[in-house]
């Protein structure tokens, strides 16, 4: 009866179909079926993505934007088509606003070093939040060292939500940039980015939104959000590693100095003077990750075959199912109880360190992340050195949540006095 009940959930039935698109999910770990719940670190890849990459290498591998020969034209076409796919995915005005980079980290560094370095000076302020990933902290710290600017930090409340009044108070005539995450990778919190942007714009301050965790979980509309920059990584969107996107409003990108110098980003080079290429090529120096970009295109197509409503509903359903089950484990405390969150569950267990939980869960085939999740200031805020984190993707099911909870009980058993 219990099993029947579970099969009755429409979204779980759907997820069982989606699972078959992901070859690695058939793996066994330590003799147990793999229960992959480390999706916030990186998602698994559907066969369509793997095949798109290998198709490029098998059938039309060539450099882009250079050759006059057939393969090069084909590769260039495939590469540029993905730019348009990304434009539509996030509703940018033009494909010229889509810059391919290595990932979220490089996108943020690009903005810090190009936009930030050319505009900021001593006394200026950059507003970040307490829940940022190190990759949305450290590039700004480097910029501060270079320019003498200072960081101001939006605090987080006990639920794991940004304190919006405090944010409003931080904005002043010295503020030059706001950089916040759309969704917290440690807590799952969805931040009210549209309101954050609107408030910053009242002060004439541009906003960078770190979309690394949002991109696979929420429909993203950069025009509606009105953010000035948006960054994400393909590998958290069921695509390959080593590719990411920086979206920037065209006018801002036009005005920004180049980031890296090299091939492809120039118009003409002489030892006297070099003139730079137009957007988006101005920011894409050197041979890009062509196969990776093509893989990203396949990932976007794959997601395009699924309704956002369905995806979001499944994510919410898994979270709603898992949260009370985990919370009812004695001694377990969930870190991050925002009213608006995606399927990420960070927790600590009394008398057990996260690292031990991770090892014990792994022995049951359950893959989770343990540690500080590259958010050390946030861990400090909640007074924990580390958490265990389960994070969901479209192919996860209630059955897997049950496996997680069962593995947690087993782990507790090992540590029972």
């Amino acid at each position: 009866m219990k099993i029947l009940d579970k099969l009755m959930h429409h979204d779980d039935v759907q997820a069982q179909f989606w699972r078959t698109d992901f070859p690695v999910l058939k793996s066994r770990v330590h003799g147990k079926p793999l229960v992959y719940l480390d999706n916030a670190a990186t998602t698994q890849k559907p066969l369509a993505v793997i095949e798109a990459e290998s198709d490029y290498y098998l059938n039309y591998n060539a450099n882009v934007h250079r050759g006059v020969h057939a393969l090069s034209l084909r590769a260039t076409e495939a590469y540029e088509e993905v730019r348009v796919k990304v434009q539509h995915l996030i509703n940018a005005v033009s494909p010229d606003e889509i810059i391919f980079v290595r990932g979220t980290t490089e996108a943020i560094n690009l903005v810090a070093q190009s936009y930030g370095r050319s505009r900021l000076q001593a006394g200026d302020e950059i507003v970040l939040s307490e829940m940022e990933h190190h990759s949305n902290i450290v590039p700004w710290q480097i910029l501060c060292q270079q320019t003498g600017a200072k960081l101001r930090i939006i605090p987080v409340n006990d639920l794991g939500e940004l304190q919006m009044e405090a944010y409003a108070d931080l904005l002043n005539e010295h503020t030059r940039l706001v950089a916040v995450t759309h969704v917290s990778n440690s807590l799952g919190t969805i931040n009210p980015v549209k309101a954050i942007v609107a408030l910053a714009h009242e002060h004439g301050v541009p906003v960078l939104v770190d979309g690394a965790q949002a991109i696979a979980h929420l429909p993203v509309d950069v025009r509606d959000m009105d953010c000035d920059f948006y960054a994400f990584s393909a590998h958290k969107l069921y695509g390959p590693t080593g590719v990411g996107v920086l979206y920037g409003k065209a006018a801002l990108l036009e005005a920004m100095p180049v980031y890296q110098g090299g091939g492809d980003m120039i118009n003409s080079v002489s030892f006297g003077e070099t003139t730079f290429n137009v957007l988006p090529f101005k920011f894409e120096a050197g041979t890009p990750n062509i196969a990776g970009v093509i893989g990203l295109g396949a990932a976007i197509d794959y997601l395009g075959s699924i309704e956002w409503d369905e995806l979001v509903a499944h994510d919410r359903a898994l979270l709603a199912y898992a949260t009370p089950l985990l919370a009812s484990v004695s001694g377990l405390r969930i870190i991050g109880n925002a009213r608006d969150k995606i399927g990420i569950l960070s927790f600590v267990l009394e008398g057990m360190h996260a690292h031990d939980i991770g090892t014990l869960l792994d022995s049951e085939g359950v893959a989770i992340r343990t540690g500080h999740h590259c958010t050390m200031p946030l861990m400090q805020r909640f007074g924990v050195p580390a958490t265990a984190r389960a994070s969901f993707a479209l192919y996860n099911t209630r059955q897997e949540v049950d496996a997680l909870v069962e593995a947690v009980y087993k782990a507790k058993e090992v540590f029972r006095p």
Binding site: H355, G371, P385
Partner: protein, 145 residues
């Protein structure tokens, strides 16, 4: 599961729950801090060394079961030992958990289970690296990265 039992054997869990020689050591003349950024294990070690002999040792810190038990066991084993003997013990623990080496003698042998869990070797060796740093009188925190 057998590997797990070996890793989390009763002695380890006992030292984790009730670490020996925990807390500050008043009158320590060598200290060092160790940090494992991967999992947030932190240990501060206090040594009282006289005439090349470790007269007393205590530690403070927060860590996983392996890191804490290893630190606790270490304090028991190095008390009364010469600096050279303590470093010798460190070498044998390292060889044992990193594979290759034979079992360390005595109660330290309970750490042998770590060998099957390469991701946990740094947890087991953190306190020992910190001890070496304290003996060398290194001021800044050591990490196992």
């Amino acid at each position: 599961m057998n590997d797990l039992r070996e890793l989390y054997q009763e002695t380890i869990l006992d030292h984790y729950r009730q670490p020996r020689n925990a807390g500050r050591l008043v009158g320590a003349n060598r200290t060092a801090e160790g940090y494992n950024p991967l999992c947030g294990d932190k240990v501060k070690l206090y040594l009282k060394v006289e005439d090349g002999v470790i007269r007393d040792v205590r530690f403070e810190g927060y860590g996983c079961a392996i890191a804490t038990a290893s630190a606790s066991l270490m304090t028991e084993c190095i008390k009364g030992k010469s600096e050279a003997e303590a470093l010798q013990l460190m070498e044998s623990v390292h060889a044992m958990v990193a594979g290759g080496g034979t079992s360390a003698e005595g109660k330290l042998a309970v750490l042998a289970g770590v060998r099957e869990f390469p991701q946990r070797v740094k947890c087991a060796t953190l306190a020992w690296h910190t001890m070496k740093a304290a003996l060398d009188n290194v001021e800044e925190a050591v990490t196992t990265q």
